[in-house]
């Protein structure tokens, strides 16, 4: 009886208790479910055990609200289409191939801009992080650029590059490289000077120093920057696609607006959201894998 009560209240406690008392098979099975790694639970000030699929909980709750709200007509269907209408529309868009086509165009823009921005940001961060002259030359202008929103540069970019793909990719690149630069540079500069001393005593060459100390040391910063960059790339995409565009998800949505088709707009929004969110999840996964040497508060 007491044991069952405790199960509901604090399974971990039970696991620890049974360990000292000895376990029968039923408890053993329960323990296998609760505590697969047989690890102790974290300390008093650490976070509690991970919730499985924690990232999906919030979005699913939001979806539930939308479904229930539409079904009970709390939501005006002219302002916001019902989920099933959106799903049906998405089905049509997929079957006639418009969705894939626009998605491919948009993804190409975002990924190209992202890739160029990452390379640019990392190269600039290395130059300015490893040389005083580089820092003197680069850091100021980049901080200035940071203060100017990419969108404010759009008129100038359109004048220079026209309204074609180069302008779109450049806008995304300019939005992406700044967070990459800032966080990588910061990560690089905050590498413990004691590691530099160590590198000297073991006689590392400059190239080895960069490879074994600087790059891994700046990696946490870089990955943090990457998260901002990925989100930023999709954001910039939205803007450039709604200006003078003839393809892409943004164009599809802009067209739908003129006909008042909220279902297509929502398909676009969901696409943007899914793309942005899943790429952020991907970066976080990379972060966890690449930084497995770190023991942090959230682990």
């Amino acid at each position: 009886m007491t044991a069952q009560l405790e199960t509901r209240i604090d399974v971990d406690h039970l696991v620890r208790r049974t360990r000292s008392v000895g376990m029968n098979r039923a408890q053993d099975r329960r323990r296998a479910v609760v505590d697969p790694d047989n690890r102790r639970r974290p300390g008093r000030l650490g976070l509690r055990r991970r919730i499985p699929y924690a990232g999906a909980v919030g979005p699913l709750a939001l979806l539930a609200v939308w479904v229930v709200g539409s079904a009970l007509h709390w939501i005006d269907l002219r302002s916001l289409s019902a989920p099933w209408t959106v799903v049906a529309t998405a089905g049509e868009l997929i079957s006639d191939g418009r969705l894939q086509e626009n998605l491919a165009t948009s993804s190409w823009r975002a990924l190209t801009g992202l890739a160029l921005g990452i390379v640019l940001g990392v190269v600039l961060a290395l130059i300015s992080g490893l040389s005083r002259l580089g820092e003197a030359l680069l850091d100021g202008p980049i901080q200035l650029k940071r203060a100017i929103p990419s969108l404010a540069l759009l008129p100038l970019l359109i004048l220079w590059l026209g309204i074609g793909e180069p302008m779109k990719v450049t806008t995304i690149t300019l939005g992406v490289f700044v967070p990459i630069y800032l966080h990588t540079h910061n990560g690089l500069r905050s590498i413990d000077s004691r590691y530099v001393e160590l590198a000297e005593t073991v006689g590392l060459r400059r190239s080895e120093f960069v490879r074994h100390v600087v790059l891994p040391g700046a990696l946490p910063g870089f990955l943090m920057g990457l998260r901002f960059a990925v989100t930023g790339a999709w954001l910039a995409l939205v803007v450039v696609e709604q200006i003078n565009s003839t393809s892409g998800i943004g164009y599809m949505m802009e067209l739908a607006r003129t006909y008042g088709q909220t279902d297509i707009i929502i398909v676009g929004l969901v696409l943007y959201g899914t793309l942005g969110y899943s790429s952020d999840l991907l970066v976080r996964l990379v972060q966890r894998k690449a930084l497995s040497w770190r023991q942090t508060f959230a682990d």
């Binding site: 004691r194 590691y195 001393e197 160590l198 590198a199 000297e200 005593t201 073991v202 006689g203 590392l204 080895e208 074994h212 100390v213 891994p216 040391g217 990696l219 497995s292 040497w293 770190r294 023991q295």
Partner: protein
């Protein structure tokens, strides 16, 4: 009046011959007109184990950094000749957290042309020597403080240095672990025969380990004691107690018998 003393180190190995690992004459170091080292002379023979004692702030680390060539932007002068291959063990183990244990041991290790042993093999042997065989794939944060310091020792010794400089390498360890580390260090030094300069706060540690103990005070070496006790050295030995009392007095502490 900053003199680049490192210029004098060049070609040192030939000049040193095979007798001296450290030959320092009139070494002076100051931080903003505060003289930290004042005309220090110090010779350490090849294979000799020297312990350096001194009050906090007496300039032990400053001397060690000068020998290791790590004192940039420090003004001073003097003649400084040290062995070519130097390894440093720091008070913190200073392992790169993003490299596994083996990667830390072999960091910057160059394989000599000739014997067909990779740096990985040498690293593994060195880890086995400090009793950490099988832990080569661990991350540094997964090791205890004593284990981390043993990895740092392995990293130093795998380079077969002529001179090992150690700045309070066991300062952060508990007494029991420290005693184990003493035994380990003695064994490793007997096997590899580097000259050693060990900075420590612990008078007993100095007497247990060293062939010679020197005391740094007010920028000068004020006391020098040869320790000629048979192994194993025990604090209960009256000769041990004599040396200890002498050293404590030179550090400005009168031993009180309770």
């Amino acid at each position: 009046m900053a003199t680049d003393v490192r210029g004098l180190v060049e070609g040192s190995a030939r000049d040193l011959g095979d007798r001296l690992a450290v030959d320092v004459v009139g070494l002076t170091r100051r931080y903003q007109d505060r003289v930290i080292l004042d005309q220090v002379d110090l010779q350490i023979a090849g294979g000799e184990f020297v312990a350096l004692l001194g009050r906090s702030g007496s300039g032990k680390t400053t001397l060690l950094k000068a020998l290791a060539g790590l004192d940039y932007d420090v003004s001073g002068e003097g003649q400084l000749r040290v062995a070519d291959s130097i390894s440093v063990v720091f008070q913190d183990s200073r392992l790169l957290p993003w490299r596994r244990v083996l990667g830390n041991v072999t960091l910057g290790l160059r394989t000599q042309a000739g014997p067909g042993q990779s740096s990985e093999d040498r690293g593994l042997l060195s880890l086995a020597e400090v009793g950490l065989a099988g832990r080569e794939r661990a991350w540094p944060t997964q090791l205890s403080g004593g284990e981390q310091q043993r990895v740092a020792l392995a990293r130093s010794l795998v380079r077969e240095p002529q001179l090992l400089l150690a700045d309070e390498p066991f300062g952060a360890l508990d007494a029991l672990t420290r005693m184990k580390m003493h035994v380990l260090l003695r064994r490793l030094c007997a096997a590899h025969k580097p000259a050693v300069l060990l900075v420590t706060h612990d008078v007993d540690e100095a007497i247990v380990l060293a062939d010679r103990v020197i005391v740094l005070d007010q920028g000068k070496i004020t006391t020098e004691v040869s320790v000629d006790l048979p192994a194993p050295r025990r604090a209960a030995d009256p000769a041990f107690a004599d040396i200890r009392q002498h050293l404590l007095r030179s550090l400005g502490i009168e031993e009180t018998h309770a």
